[in-house]
């Protein structure tokens, strides 16, 4: 990585899905690796089930906490279709990582809009570098579906060059001791998705 390279990550999801923790762990991992870091997360109204994003940037010296469109190395989605609202953030060779979990918006249940039937195909035709899988199933296999976000972080980590110890250190600092083993395993499970 050259001296003035900044790495940007955008994580999209639905309010209440736990974006804050995901972006916090990512930021901490970058910090552990010796970088300057800035993040921004949405608080407030959108947290009531609306569409939300978190942004993380790291490098030798970071100015803006906001990611410029077309520059994110990784664009990740905690829900199946959410990243499609933010596709323009992704850089040309960027990696898209998506948890296939579906959260049906009320607008669909009410019949005023439709949830794309072919979401996977839509994602595949939009993003040449796509990792798409059910992080919830992976987490459930390990015994706790709540670790799905950390599984996804494992897959995200493949898109940026931070060393493994930086991640495990960040997870150790952020999750309660009794869930540490589970979360480390969850992270490693996610890293298998490339």
């Amino acid at each position: 990585m050259s001296n003035d390279t900044i790495v940007s990550i955008v994580i999209a999801g639905v309010g209440g899905q736990g974006i804050l923790l995901a972006s916090d762990i990512t930021a901490l991992a970058a910090l552990n690796a010796g970088f300057d870091v800035k993040t921004n997360e949405v608080h407030g109204m959108a947290q009531r089930g609306g569409s939300v994003i978190g942004q993380i940037r790291y490098g030798k010296k970071v100015y803006s906490p906001l990611v410029k469109k077309g520059t994110a190395q990784v664009l990740a989605g905690l829900e199946r279709i959410e990243i499609l609202r933010y596709a323009e953030y992704l850089a040309k060779d960027g990696l898209a990582v998506v948890n296939s979990q579906m959260i049906i918006p009320v607008t669909v249940s009410m019949g005023v809009s439709k949830y794309p039937a072919d979401a996977k195909q839509l994602l595949e035709s939009t993003f040449p570098r796509l990792v798409y899988f059910d992080a919830g199933v992976e987490a459930a296999k390990l015994g706790n579906i709540k670790a799905a976000n950390v599984v996804l972080l494992g897959a995200i980590s493949n898109g940026i060059g931070l060393p493994l110890e930086a991640w495990t250190g960040a997870i150790t600092k952020r999750v309660p001791q009794k869930f540490l083993d589970l979360n480390i395993k969850a992270f490693m499970a996610g890293r298998n998705y490339k």
């Binding site: 608080h43 089930g49 249940s109």
Partner: protein, 579 residues
């Protein structure tokens, strides 16, 4: 070094500055400052006041007594506290006082996009504006020094992208707290005309001295680079400018009011052209022009919505007449279903909006989670203006239109904030509106802060929970009912009955916010797919746990909170408890 949000850094700055009293009222994006400051509760007394005006007055008097005090609020909160601000500027302070006001360009979570910088000029008090978390902390310390040096309250303006962005901060130690002793001095502290006239003159003198100080202050700095192009900027916008115009010379203002005129002139003499890059209004640009200095500004920079590196890159392309950069991937939002915020599954507010659907009345609403009752499929609120307005506007519509019945809907925190005076008005002036207080026992929208009805203080101590019904009685409301919004039959009956009477009534819908208590109301429900007739009646509740595509609706067992509303509205008895 710690990774802190701007709000955590402001809290830390207050701690290090030796603050001993902090008051505020929640409001995005300012709320987390006081939530964080509680961790210093051995050193700092902190409270959620009922509203911003009260918080401001509490902090003002603490500072007049010699303490260092802090008051926090969102931008519209300063409108509520503007009255004490304007006159405190005359009185001044003994101990340092910082007013933190958080703007929300882009209206991520606000009803307007006002630019609070105007308050600094309006009240003639200094304003500082940090550009990241480190500055947020450092500027707090500077703000207290300035406040005591000039005997004035100081406004520290933050905004969404400062408050909710995290960056690295060097921590320092706490300074020794001031000795506090209220020393009587009527000519300073009693603002009757005779004394206020004198203070008014002093205020202008102080402003002049502060302006000289601003020119010397290290809060403002010039970063000289390519001198053919200079940019004047402040706050988080500075960070965007650094990335979009890496070669430009920059005058970065941290001390944004009073304006450092000499410094601006110096900068202007060193660069060939000037662009003022500022968020929202042309506050700096207008002043630069008033000094006779030519500059560009809002002719290129949008004054609506928030700035970002993307927006400024487009501006740059336009200025250089190059084409704007194409992004490799396009959003396909048009093909996606909308995902607006909604009331949570099991939210106690839902039952009231559902019951109101039976009535053809105008419903005046207010600000809080229950504002979400405006949208389909509930579609119940017809007017929302500002906090407290739900009650007084119901009265206004009723009086002007001679409508027999108008309903006003307001949350518990909002009722204590500024709803009570509206209720007094209705009784005093013989109104007939039906007022419904959605008492979920907490301040929900801003992330669950205690309020005077919760029975708990910000510091975590239990306290008297003020009864809304008692307040109604004291105001002289004769018809007062407490209802459980999960009991639809009773709720519908009371609402229908009260809409029919020709006098004011107060209905208190009492049930705790489910997201706050994090406990289901009762066991989860399911929809029996065999007996369900797909009439879709349950979908009219707008509960996010009831999901439906083409086929019959079903309940998501992970998100259902067992509020039973869907079971109560199902005409075919197809919704049951999961056993």
């Amino acid at each position: 070094m710690e990774l802190l949000s701007g709000n955590e850094a402001i809290s830390r700055g207050a701690y290090e500055a030796g603050v001993t009293l902090a008051a505020g009222y929640p409001g995005t994006p300012s709320t987390e400052i006081l939530e964080d400051i509680v961790k210093y509760k051995d050193a700092i007394y902190a409270e959620w006041s009922p509203n911003e005006k009260v918080a401001f007055e509490v902090a003002s008097a603490a500072a007049m007594s010699g303490a260092r005090s802090l008051v926090t609020m969102k931008h519209v909160g300063l409108n509520v506290a503007a009255d004490p601000l304007m006159t405190l500027a005359y009185i001044g302070v003994k101990g340092g006082m910082v007013v933190v006001v958080a703007d929300d360009p882009g209206m991520h979570s606000s009803q307007n996009e006002q630019d609070s910088r105007h308050y600094a000029r309006f009240a003639k008090v200094p304003m500082l504006e940090p550009s990241d978390s480190q500055e947020a902390k450092d500027f707090m310390l500077k703000a207290y020094e300035l406040s005591e040096q000039f005997g004035t309250p100081v406004i520290l303006r933050t905004e969404t992208r400062i408050s909710h962005s995290r960056s690295l901060v060097n921590l320092g130690n706490r300074r020794l707290a001031n000795k506090v002793d209220f020393i009587k001095d009527q000519s300073q502290f009693v603002m009757v005309p005779m004394w206020a006239r004198g203070r008014r003159v002093q205020l202008e003198g102080r402003l002049k001295k502060m302006q000289e100080n601003a020119c010397q202050s290290d809060l403002n700095r010039m970063e000289m680079n390519d001198t053919s192009f200079g940019i004047i900027t402040s706050g988080v916008t500075y960070q965007y400018v650094k990335e979009v115009w890496p070669n430009a010379s920059i005058l970065k203002l941290g001390f944004v009011y009073p304006f450092p005129d000499e410094l601006i002139r110096q900068f202007a003499s060193k660069v060939k052209t000037i662009l003022v890059v500022e968020q929202l209004d042309n506050f700096i640009e207008e002043h630069v022009k008033s000094l006779g200095i030519a500059c560009q500004g809002k002719n290129y920079i949008p004054n609506i919505g928030e700035l970002s590196p993307s927006v400024l890159s487009d501006v740059k392309a336009k200025m250089e007449s190059t084409s704007t950069a194409q992004v490799p991937f396009k959003n396909i939002a048009e093909q996606l279903p909308g995902r607006p915020p909604v009331l949570c599954a099991g939210c106690p507010h839902r039952g009231i909006f559902h019951a109101l659907k039976n009535h053809d009345v105008v419903v005046a609403g207010d600000i809080g989670c229950y504002s979400l009752g405006t949208f389909k499929p509930l579609s119940q609120l017809d007017i929302i203006l500002c906090m407290g307005g739900g009650i007084s506007m119901a009265h206004g519509i009723q009086k002007a239109s001679n409508a027999k019945k108008v309903v006003g809907v307001i949350g518990d925190s909002t009722f204590f904030h500024s709803g009570i005076t509206g209720l007094v008005d209705i009784v005093y002036n013989k109104g007939t509106s039906t007022i419904i207080v959605l008492d979920n026992r907490i301040t929900g929208m801003t992330g669950h802060q205690e309020n005077p009805g919760s029975g708990l203080t910000l510091m975590g101590e239990s306290t008297h929970a003020i009864s809304i019904a008692d307040i109604g009685r004291a105001c002289g409301v004769k018809r007062i009912f407490e209802i459980n919004p999960y009991d639809q039959k009773h709720t519908q009956q009371i609402i229908a009955q009260e809409i029919a009477v020709d006098e004011p009534s107060l209905i208190i819908s009492k049930a705790a916010c489910v997201l706050h208590v994090k406990k289901p109301v009762s066991p989860q429900r399911y929809i029996d797919q065999d007996t369900c007739k797909n009439c879709r009646q349950c979908l009219k509740l707008g509960c996010p746990a009831i999901e439906a595509g083409e086929g019959k609706p079903h309940v998501n067992p992970y998100t259902c909170m067992g509020c039973t509303l869907c079971q109560q509205v199902c005409k075919f008895d197809s919704i049951h408890e999961i056993k």
